[in-house]
Symmetry: C2
Subunit: 461 residues, 2 copies
Amino acid sequence: MENVNDSKLGRRDFLITAGLAGASMAAGSIANAAPPQNGRRPKTKSVMGLRTPKMETVRVGFIGVGSRGSGHVTTMLTLEGVDVKAISDTHRPNAERSAQACVAAGRSAPDLYTEGDRAYRQMLERDDIDVVLISTPWDWHVPMSVDAMKAGKHVLLEVPAAQTVEGCWELVETAEQTQRNCMMLENVCYGREELMVLNMCRQGLFGELLHGEAAYIHDLRGQMNEVERGTGSWRTYEYARHNGNLYPTHGLGPVAQYMNVNRGDRLDYLTSMSSPALVREKYAKDHFPEGHKWRKLKFTAGDINTTLVKTALGRTIMIQWDEQLPRPYTRHNLIQGTQGCWAGFPDRIVVEGKSPSTERWEQGKDLDRWYREYDHPLWKRLEAEAKRNGGHGGMDFVMLWRIVYCLRNGEPLDQDVYDAAAWSVITPLSERSVKNRGQSVDVPDFTRGEWKKAPPLAIVS
Amino acid sequence: MENVNDSKLGRRDFLITAGLAGASMAAGSIANAAPPQNGRRPKTKSVMGLRTPKMETVRVGFIGVGSRGSGHVTTMLTLEGVDVKAISDTHRPNAERSAQACVAAGRSAPDLYTEGDRAYRQMLERDDIDVVLISTPWDWHVPMSVDAMKAGKHVLLEVPAAQTVEGCWELVETAEQTQRNCMMLENVCYGREELMVLNMCRQGLFGELLHGEAAYIHDLRGQMNEVERGTGSWRTYEYARHNGNLYPTHGLGPVAQYMNVNRGDRLDYLTSMSSPALVREKYAKDHFPEGHKWRKLKFTAGDINTTLVKTALGRTIMIQWDEQLPRPYTRHNLIQGTQGCWAGFPDRIVVEGKSPSTERWEQGKDLDRWYREYDHPLWKRLEAEAKRNGGHGGMDFVMLWRIVYCLRNGEPLDQDVYDAAAWSVITPLSERSVKNRGQSVDVPDFTRGEWKKAPPLAIVS
């Protein structure tokens, strides 16, 4: 779940020094786009439910093959009908390592593009690439995606899709202008539990859905030890640039799918509060010598952020973010309906009329019968392969398998650019609310009304 | 934890019909008080840390001895130095039942005041009562407390203390004018776990405190079957009069104590969102015939409410309320600091440098060593008696024992009127935020600056 591309450090340092933190300013790709007004952007042709011509072979180019992107290469190599054509990474050894993986898998060696920050643009000029998979530091997500779509490629983009409202709109508008897919790779939506809960929700097991809870609570302080290279070397700066929910999509993505956000409902407004930011400064002091770059940073991101979202249908979603406190991992993954509730970490369920009592959770071995009845067909079909091939408990494999399946069969992808925008925009909007005493902030309707007509997501295989 | 006084139904129905829902309007006791302005009430003599002359015997009068108040009578009878002087209840059989309990315990029979809504005022005219303990429906809390303090009595008041901002100010101002105690009986603050966690916080086990979580999630739909008498007969109307957090104090009280709210920190502002209100209407339809009074109610209180509070020191508290969804009970009881975290339901802990790993909770039998090291002295002293005598796992006994101890020794009570106001005001402020798209609302500083000077709460025995 980390994006890694290590060679941008010099440039990033420059950006931070110059105060040019916005992704779109950094890239300048659509620098003159009109400023967004909530829900009032001129509507161009929607890409909701976009179907593209069937691809016999999905020809992929990768941008960024650090610890995250290299995993995607490996997984792609296990799939039928995929051709890894080219790889761009500013750190040549990364690119070579993934190229070797291709050869080791009996494929032809991909072409490499590794000279400088703009090498990926050369790769985009090729006409034998259908899809570009982007796993780079967050700043680069928007400009690279925009460039790729403008070059006629479909985009698979690591999370978060964008960190600014303007960046979200750029992705939406470019996808519409170019009629290309821009799917954010929210892998958690393909976890076994998440797929099963989606299945449960679609079958009405919990009744009418009322409330969800999502989180990314994951102590990542240790990444600060990646000082010169690796995720920590660029991600650490993010904690000194923001104060809000910096990483909302792993928790929110599945809950948004349960609730049919953008497909019958939508995120309407939110409010957000952050605690003080204390532990990263302490970690820097405890682990790095005086004068070290981490000790010069002023960490601004409150150690734990809590955001509340209200949907157009009146439901509520609580989203938490905390990447530094000493505490076990959780994404919450809670969905509450009129008839019952599922919650994760640890997994537990209660359903009125079906559980022995609603005063006690069913968990542990009690869950076996629920898996038997509700495991998602996609999971059941892929379980064996997923466990063999995929990272993160198989979810990475299932995600890429499903994307390749859809592209080869001319079916719409499960997540579209509106999802990418709605799930990612939590970051800048939470920042705005945090800054302003928790005042609530409207969430733009990136679909511009299309959410009312869109059918519920039904992931089938 | 329920307040029961059953005989006000006719009057309540009138109030609801006439739209006169506010407690202060209902009572008219300080009807002409100036409207409050946040933190700008004229400061009268604070009752923070109020010490009153030692009482050899604590002479108590009870108002309301339904299912909750009768329990308090029983518990009081187990304490040394307590004299139950009088009981008022508009339902005479209630009063007689508690009087018999006194006699059965070898005490003299208390005098009874049972004729009509104002009978309690006759009781207040006695000069042999020091303390009045009020366990009546919520509407009556403010007027009865105000009347009692004006009659020179100290007040022990069931939760919530008030349901309106004005009601909170009335309690504060009256306590200051009369220099009387007005303690809300937040029994949960005296639970074994809560006392232990308070002890842990005071000893700095979790480092600097950053974030807390509190809840009252308790499926109480079944109370609707108390149609003519009992808690449901009056509380059911509350769900048709509000939309917010109707019952914040059981969750918030302990967390506020951990954080030294009103004693070094204070609640600054909050924001709140409610889900749709669906399940009580369904319950009414499923369980009561057409034309039944429950089927005529329009339930307004969203099935689950989530409120975020920010403190003056920048900490955050998430508070949830849900008295109707099919789901196991929880008060969350989570406190997160820079070094570790405690969470309840189920109880679990993690402390950096002390737990085997911060990636896994210590729970179940792992907790034994924590109890051995951190059980609160008050709990250890009272455990055996508490388990024998008290409701709610002993917390009721410990609470009343501690109150009687303080009064007999001339020591300040652990909770004061500022706590009662700050913890209860969540209800009207959350309602205001819910109504207004989650806009944040300032929390009045009921202490008017005294919170900055007050020492931390140290419950000792």
